[in-house]
């Protein structure tokens, strides 16, 4: 498109890409605490601020609990805010994390996803992010370094939309994306500025002597207006999540018009037009999945992929529709749902499939835990097993992809 300006091209890893995404979004405050595999991300932020490339206040605080807490205060005072964390950091942050969406604070926090202790590990996996899926944040998972960078300004646009006003986690896989290096195009600052427009983050709840109000009085209980008041807040939160589905699509489209990069906002359908079986993927594993599907297609096997980009709110209708024509589904997770003996995305997909008039057989595959690779060969195995499922072989599982590696 003629009005698209190509920015400067750099080569960087996913953490630097995230830092650039944050930098270009011009937050007023960045709070940091290091944790593997996020650490280099916050080092980049500190470097940008030290070098004057970024004008945010840098809050080097004593732990992730305070990372989010200082940003709560700043956001209620009117600041655009950013941070990033992983695994144990997210666990330590959980108390204020739990509170953020209820306060309707439109923050953006990157989760550099990592498997959770114990067993003690410091490597990629999505157990951290998947564990907090019911807290009420918006969750978007990125596949590439460029998508990480682009999704962060998009996330601000979504978070600060008056119909949404919810915090967003922009998630990228620890190790594979955090440290993996690729070509990344930096959008011009003015492109991001005009995309985001003026911030207004605390019109609904603020701590400002010029607009005195009590933020978060005790709400609920069994008497008086308590029950109805509490329901009004929870229902409003759900409405904000549902409103986000279309806002996320609009924001991605708007970003595409300005940069030429159109990312699939909710789900990406890859070679699904005539697919007879589908894999469901999330995050960076999708690259290997696409290679495996391409190879299967060369052999005449009609396989496609549905990649989940927006996991919360879950795009139920989109997922159900995309999977409505296939005869079997293999869902690949990088985390465990202990309560169901499966992957968490698998359970989400099953719930979405209930909206279809037919029952489509599905199986859960779990791989890539604690930094393990999910290779093209692993995905070839998933394709084979899903095709056998379509052919009538009974489902079993979950299948642990790295069990014999």
């Amino acid at each position: 498109m003629s009005d698209v300006k190509t920015g400067k091209v750099i080569v960087c890893d996913g953490n630097e890409a995230a830092a650039w995404g944050a930098c270009l979004s011009r937050p007023d405050m960045v709070a940091v605490y290091p944790i593997t595999p996020q650490s280099s991300l916050v080092e980049y932020l500190a470097e940008f601020i030290a070098d004057g490339r970024m004008s945010a206040d840098l809050m080097d605080v004593e732990g992730e609990h305070s990372v989010l807490s200082v940003l709560h205060g700043a956001c209620l005072a009117g600041a655009r805010t950013y941070s990033a964390t992983s695994a144990q950091g997210l666990a330590y942050m959980f108390e204020p994390y739990f509170r953020t969406p209820g306060l309707r604070l439109p923050m953006v926090v990157s989760l550099v996803t990592r498997d959770a202790v114990s067993p003690t590990c410091v490597w990629g996996g999505q157990q951290d992010a998947m564990t907090v899926k019911e807290v009420g944040w918006i969750h978007m998972y990125c596949e590439t370094q460029q998508e990480i960078l682009d999704t962060i300004p998009i996330a601000y646009k979504v978070a600060e939309h008056p119909d949404v006003m919810l915090p967003v986690n922009v998630n990228h896989d620890g190790n594979y994306l955090s440290y993996g290096v690729a070509r990344v195009e930096l959008p011009d600052q003015q492109v991001v500025d005009s995309f985001l427009g003026e911030k207004n983050v605390n019109w609904h709840a603020c701590l400002d002597p010029e607009r005195p109000m009590a933020v978060d009085p005790l709400t609920g209980g069994s008497g008086g207006v308590g029950p109805a008041t509490f329901v009004r807040y929870r229902k409003g939160h759900c409405a904000g999540m549902q409103a986000a589905l279309s806002v996320i699509e609009e924001a991605h489209a708007d970003w595409g018009r300005r940069t030429g990069r159109y990312w699939s906002p909710l789900i990406e359908e890859y070679r699904m037009d005539d697919a007879e079986v589908a894999l469901v993927t999330i995050g960076s594993m999708t690259g290997a999945a696409k290679d495996a599907v391409d190879e299967a297609r060369l052999d005449g096997r009609k396989v496609g992929i549905v990649k989940i980009k927006t996991f919360r709110p879950f795009p139920v209708q989109r997922v159900a529709k995309a999977l409505s024509k296939v005869r079997a589904i293999g869902v690949v997770d990088r985390a465990v749902n202990f309560g169901w003996n499966s992957g968490p995305v698998y359970q989400e997909v099953l719930a979405a499939l209930y909206h279809l008039p037919v029952r489509v057989p599905a199986m859960s595959f779990i791989g890539g835990l604690a930094g393990a690779d999910i290779t093209v060969e692993h995905f070839a195995g998933v394709v084979d097993r899903t095709l056998r499922l379509a052919a009538g072989e009974a489902a079993n599982g979950p299948v642990w992809l790295n069990e014999n590696d």
Binding site: S66, L71, G73, P209, V215, L218, T229
Partner: protein
């Protein structure tokens, strides 16, 4: 807020009968002393005979010539020598022997409080006489806007409401107030279901993140040039000393410009009187009960303000509602310091419900806690070091204080001895710190309290002057 006046207070336990006060009065006023130290009812003790400047003065009623009249501004009952007919009826009318007779002049001689600067108090070497300015303080703050609604549901006798209302009257509307979970929001400050009890921006932080949220607020307002807002907390001891300590310590280490007031009632009183890190040794609480095997808390309290001095904060002070003048002065300095760095004010405040103290005895308990050194009143700045604002010398035995508090009812002699030893140890440490501090101990008046400290000026730096406060 009604009529309240400053007064000369007398503490019989500190008086050794030296008579310096009488001598000084006589010298300053000429003629007979207006006050008299007389033998007390207790063997070897003394009492003070002085005009009480009564609110319903019998002397004024009996005066036939209109020579005695109560001044509406100062509260002093003035004597007009021109009108007086020397009938001496007033001396008989006063039940307190408060009006003296000068035998040489054969005229009455009564105290006029030396226009608010009584010479006798300054002459007293033991601190038995004190000039208490609570009256004028209450009147001054009574005229300021109360920033909480009427009817906060605190327990009867609790001083938290007093601290909240007076602190916010002083600080005013240009503030952001955090009240973490505890008694203060429990009594309705943040409010319930859409209604609030506070007129300034107020919020519940988490119990654990008060100082961090305030840090974010302050930094952003500084960033956008609104540097004159007081960003503050009225927090409890549990959230400050225990689960929120990481945030307090972090903010103090970073020198965040916030005012953190900790109202210490020695436990988690709002949730039902459980033990906290600041609960003193021996205390009964609902989680350190008294039974056959347990006899209350077995560990000593964490001295939170002392820990904060180790962070080299801009300002750290302790205060007690038993000594409001001292508290008010520290509040002023704490607010000023909060524009320059981390400012921490620790106010000891008994919980009548949880401590098993009658509501009517709370202020008395506060005073005895200070008089026994169980609570010490001091302040610290990172430039002037530590100094006592009330002398710890000549304390009453800690057991006298402890006996007034129901939660210590079970203590045995060994436990009492432990508490006394711990108090002595703390005082010895504070004295060492005070002796090591740059400001000379002579700068404050020993042994009384209430005088503006010499170090106060050190906080009025150039930065402070740049800040145009509303």
């Amino acid at each position: 807020m009604g009529a309240a006046f400053d007064t000369i207070a007398f503490k019989a336990s500190l008086c050794d009968g030296c008579g310096d006060c009488m001598k000084t009065c006589s010298e300053v006023k000429g003629g007979a002393s207006r006050l008299a130290i007389v033998p007390g009812a207790k063997e070897g003790g003394f009492e003070l005979a002085i005009c009480r400047q009564c609110g319903d003065p019998k002397c004024v009623q009996v005066c036939p010539s209109g020579a005695l009249a109560k001044d509406g501004d100062s509260g002093v009952i003035g004597w007009d020598a021109q009108k007086c007919v020397d009938c001496l009826l007033c001396t008989a009318g006063c039940a307190y022997a408060g009006i003296a007779v000068d035998p040489q002049a054969a005229r009455v001689a009564k105290c006029d409080q030396c226009d608010g600067d009584p010479a006798c108090v300054k002459a007293c070497p033991t601190g038995a006489l004190e000039w208490r300015r609570a009256g004028s303080l209450y009147r001054e703050y009574g005229d300021k806007e109360d920033l909480f609604v009427p009817g906060l549901s605190g327990c009867q006798g609790c001083n938290s409401e007093l601290i909240m209302r007076h602190a916010m009257r002083k600080i005013g509307r240009n503030s952001v107030l955090a009240t973490p979970p505890g008694c203060i929001p429990g009594m309705g400050s943040v409010g319930y279901n859409g209604k609030t009890g506070t007129k300034v921006p107020v919020f519940h932080p988490l119990l654990t993140n008060t100082a961090s949220m305030l840090s974010g607020i302050r930094r952003y307002y500084d960033r956008i040039g609104r540097k004159d807002i007081v960003v503050m907390a009225l927090a409890g001891d549990g959230g400050t000393a225990d689960c929120g300590f990481h945030a307090v310590s972090g903010a103090a280490e970073r020198g965040e410009k916030i005012l953190y007031i900790c109202v210490d009632n020695e436990g988690y009183m709002n949730t039902g009187m459980q033990r906290s890190g600041t609960t003193p040794y021996g205390s009964w609480t609902s989680t350190t009960p008294v039974g056959e095997h347990l006899k209350g808390k077995t560990q000593d309290a964490k001295n939170l303000p002392l820990i904060l001095t180790a962070h080299k904060c801009r300002y750290v002070a302790t205060a007690s509602t038993g000594y409001m003048e001292d508290l008010y002065e520290k509040l002023d300095r704490a607010v000023e310091a909060s524009f320059e760095g981390f400012s921490y004010l620790h106010i000891y405040s008994p919980c009548p419900t949880g401590w098993r103290v009658p509501s009517s005895k709370v202020i008395e308990a506060c005073r005895m806690s200070v008089d026994s050194n169980f609570v010490t009143l001091w302040e610290y700045t990172n430039t002037a070091g530590l100094r006592f604002t009330r002398s710890p010398d000549n304390p009453i035995p800690v057991v006298d204080y402890v006996r007034t508090i129901g939660k210590y009812r079970h203590l045995d002699a060994g436990q009492l001895a432990h508490i006394q030893a711990k108090v002595d140890e703390q005082v010895a440490l504070l004295k060492l710190m005070a002796a090591d501090s740059p400001s000379p101990p002579a700068a404050h008046r020993a042994p009384g309290g209430g005088e503006a400290p010499a170090a106060a000026g050190s906080l009025s730096g150039p930065l402070r002057q740049e800040i145009a406060r509303n």
